[in-house]
């Protein structure tokens, strides 16, 4: 499955990494890999901005503008003048 998708906002600062390995554990697209004591960006273009790595990084070494990549939700939010898109799941 070809899954590289256009662009993403993932930023990683190796200087803050404590080598806990959480990012490579939680990433569902193997974006991070452990290289010795540090995490390294292995497949950055595969990032889908789910935000799991940032949330589980205890030292704040990872920044990503996370959210759900859903066009329908984003267009609906724009039409309703809302900032945060929400999916129909759970709201009907």
């Amino acid at each position: 499955m070809k899954s590289a998708y256009l662009s993403n906002t993932l930023q990683y600062n190796p200087e803050l990494c404590n080598g806990c390995g959480m990012c490579s554990t939680v990433c569902p697209h193997a974006v991070f890999a452990q290289n010795g004591r540090l995490a390294q960006l292995d497949r950055p273009t595969k990032c889908m901005e789910c935000g799991a790595c940032q949330l589980n990084c205890p030292t704040g070494a990872i920044m990503v503008d996370s959210g759900v990549g859903c066009a329908a939700a984003m267009m609906l939010a724009a039409l309703r003048g809302k900032k945060e898109p929400s999916c129909s799941v759970g709201s009907d």
């Binding site: 256009l6 595969k46 759900v68 990549g69 066009a71 984003m74 267009m75 129909s88 799941v89």
Partner: protein
Amino acid sequence: MDDNRHDIQTTTNDIKLSHRWDHFLVRIGYKRSSHKITPGIYALGNPREDSPVFVTANYTLSFDALRSSLAGINCYILVLDTMGVNVWCAAGKGAFGTDELVHRVKDTGLKEVVSHRKLILPQLGAAGVAAHEVKKRSGFNVEYGPVRAVDLPEYLKTHKATAEMRRVKFTLRDRLILVPVELTHSLLPVLLVALILYLVGDLILSVAAAVAIFGGVALFPILLPWIPTPNFSTKGYILGALVILPFAIARLLANPEPALWQRIGWAVVYMLALPTLTAFLALNFTGSTNFTSRSGVRREIFTYIPVMAVTFGAGLIFAITLVLIRLLGGSG
């Protein structure tokens, strides 16, 4: 011990006919938000105070996938209140999140039920849960298991997930199972559009519009990885053009207008307006996939929605012009 168990419910590994019926209703999109189970602690088999604790969402598909994968394992299942939404989507919204997990651990008195301090979460829950925060606030260590519950028996041998277990996939089966719910949601709009176009007096256009929409909701998910462009909109345009081409040719060959240029005009209307429907629906499928990023989708919306407005608008203007010419008697 047993005195403390009054609010621990029991469950089994069995997926009965009634569960399969519920799964079927989920898959066809019947009452999407009503496939819930009660949050709290469930005992599976005969767990003791040192038995593992697995955490899941209160969505029947999530809960059933977990319990049916744990055959022969005595354990507790802690069900969070995610309002009947699956683990990953709920994590993305924060409903399967640090706050709810910490609250549920305290609310259920889990500390009195088990002697250890470890929770095994599905990996995809990590998008809503900060493991180090949970530890700080509840005393429990979070261990992220594999993405799929079916890998748990293998995972539990070593508590190490293989690289394969940590990756989401989007197989043909994964995509096929999404089609019924997409069809359910598009059925009414399709019938409405087809009926209006039929009443306006163009049977071929009516059928072609239905095919363009079904192409977007049913064919597109299936063919997604094999359409050779990098974004959903162009993939949708390509698929739409392919399924509409036969109708455009049919319109060119067999229709009432005597003049060739009018028939060519209608063929052009078909090829402009209808693949746009497919492309728009294809773009909307981004939210059902597991690899599109928010910034990528935003960029695609800004790039291709204007294109879609132009192709659909041009088709519409052409169509109105051709109808006007016919009405004004300009038959050629």
